[in-house]
Symmetry: C2
Subunit: 389 residues, 2 copies
């Protein structure tokens, strides 16, 4: 499936939860499949920290062939014949405000100053993103979504959709998510932010004006993130205590490796993996976007306005729900999904819940676990399509 | 109990596991209690990452009174009438080589160059530390220890004592420790090291020569460490999602706090706590020492030379053991202590094991849990003292 992004421009100012107003903005969007005549088959996909509107398919190279390494981030889940089958559903991917993948964000020019927004880009919340997504649907002529779906931070947007626009969501698919961050979740975000902010090349968030990039800080931030995406088990299985080896095909040679006794050189494979992930990330991700998106995660807490009573907070929801969690996810543990399930059941909502016994930690929501993919497929084929009839 | 440290100077070169040789060195030492006539009541305490020889008691101010905030790091465990009772035991605390609390380390002058060792200080291992501690005992005229005891990295030294000098250790008390680090443990150490090394003020580890200190990196390193010392539960209980509050005595005022919508200002109490811990640490701890000690943790792996067979590795041990772990310790989980227990039992060693149901995570080994303190007290009073008879 070859896909092409589109830009939607909005000129009506968007009021944000912070009190700031975004005067005008653009959203980068991709769609897959065809909107049916009664506009009832639309599925909105909400993305997590470092993803984008490019959910499925591939971009084309100059010959119209799939461009190497251009695969959408949820391409195993969404496409023709896949669990979210684009032969049946009209799927929409949208890049969130504040991101660095095309929608208006801190790398764009602030019309008020003529220089990049940088750290002056307003703080955006999950609720703001949902408002912007709702306006996109207005422009597209879609009143009601067959489903909203997302994992992790995307799951938070999905949950928020059912509270902000309860009449516009028939089904919500919330994967590996939580009703808010724990203190430990916030702590990891904060360390990552401090690593970025204390990089001398950060310049208070105005590094673009200064012609620098806080790559050191971004690397550290990404390394911290990566640790929390993986389970202890899968890290031990993939890397264990194996020493760096240039020849992974020769276990005997690898076993012969001796300690180099160095504090700065790579000694263990896990170090090499993390450094690589950090380096790669720092080449393409914007530091201010990292700050904004981790803050949106921190702030999300629908129960806050209800005296921390999640049941009361979710009373507004009208959608039917599928929740999915993964046993080894210690970032957004199954217990957090069960809190949502319980609060929805307290409200007599229709909830399906799949707790998948998977070894991969939080990352599992992006991986090919057959039980997980089948649970989503069954929900779309039987429950959602059944309801469309 | 007012205490005073002593310096022991060693002129016989110490060969290290890396192949390097430390030509001459000093160890900072404190002792509490009195060595008995047959020199059979000595207990060696091994310290963890950021601790020192100052295990118990207080230093004196100018009037001979306890100096504020000079309490030894295990003063709740060790002292007159305490679980390790200095009225009965002669307790020795020793600062490890490579540390920054007085024993020879990277902040000291390299006699070969006349400038601080900095990053040129040789990499030291748990085994090297134990060798240096054994030489200290030689000088003190102590052939056999009634016990070696330590928590975390100190527990690794304790375990190593029973393997390197099996005839010199009657009892080993290994608290909140592990037979080696997991990939995740190494990963957290590596991120902390990268934060230090990539601080522009690090200067390849020769910041003292340059007149700088890599405080930014040390702050990040410490914040990461702190997250791993606490359990998710205790973080939620102590901080939860509470917003910063200058008036903790007024919960109503705290509840009224609103989000400030800022990515860089402190918003949540957990952020304030972590920043404070990072700032404080960066004022007194040496960055090269941090690298060295985390590397010693990474390298420790007695089973490595035995084809990863821990039972075979511990076959040399002759001591009797007490192992203690804490249920919410996810840095060195009970499962890791149980690996040691099993390997010792496979070798028909005499092992007591206490798995303490404590909420505090890895930090629990330094805290006042009555069951924990009682388990150690009972072991010293009944098993060790019983054996001395």
């Amino acid at each position: 499936m070859i896909v092409t992004p589109q830009t939607f421009r909005f000129t009506e100012p968007l009021p944000l939860r912070s009190g700031a107003v975004l005067p005008a903005y653009e959203l980068m969007v991709e769609t897959y499949g065809t909107l049916n005549a009664d506009r009832s088959n639309a599925v909105l996909i909400c993305h997590a920290l470092n993803a984008s509107h490019h959910v499925a398919g591939w971009y084309a190279d100059d010959n119209g062939q799939p461009l190497a390494r251009s695969e959408g981030w949820w391409n195993n889940m969404i496409g023709p014949g896949k669990p979210v089958d684009t032969d049946r559903w009209f799927v929409i991917g949208v890049n969130n405000l504040g991101s660095c993948f095309g929608s208006t964000g801190p790398t764009h020019v602030n019309p008020g100053t003529g220089t990049p927004w940088g750290a002056d880009f307003p703080v955006v919340t999950v609720e703001d993103w949902v408002d912007a997504q709702a306006r996109l649907l207005d422009v597209m002529g879609i009143q009601t979504l067959a489903a909203v779906m997302g994992g992790s931070l995307g799951g938070m947007q999905t949950l928020s959709w059912t509270l902000q626009y309860p009449e516009r969501v028939r089904h919500a698919v919330v994967v590996a998510s939580a009703p808010n961050l724990t203190a430990e979740n916030i702590a990891f975000n904060e360390v990552a932010r401090r690593a970025i902010v204390s990089d001398p090349d950060f310049h208070g968030g105005h590094y673009l004006r200064e012609g620098t990039l806080p790559r050191r800080g971004l690397r550290i931030a990404r390394m911290i993130g990566h640790i929390t995406y993986l389970s202890d088990d899968v890290m031990n299985e993939k890397f264990g205590r194996s020493l760096r080896s240039s020849d992974a095909d020769d276990p005997a040679a690898a076993a012969e490796l001796a300690y180099r006794y160095s504090t700065q050189e790579i000694e263990f494979q896990i170090e090499s993996y993390l450094r690589y992930q950090g380096d790669k990330f720092s080449e393409y991700f914007d530091a201010n976007t990292y700050l904004l998106i981790t803050r949106a995660l921190d702030y999300f807490d629908p129960a806050r306005a209800f005296d921390n009573n999640l049941t009361a907070a979710l009373g507004r929801a009208r959608a039917k729900f599928l929740l999915v969690s993964f046993t080894t996810d210690w970032r957004f543990s199954p217990a957090r999904s069960r809190e949502i399930v319980k609060a929805l059941l307290d409200n007599r909502r229709d909830v399906s819940y799949a707790e998948i016994d998977a070894p991969h930690g939080h990352d599992a929501f992006l991986l090919d676990d057959p039980r997980y993919l089948q649970a989503v497929r069954a929900y779309f084929e039987q429950t959602i399509a059944g309801g469309v009839a």
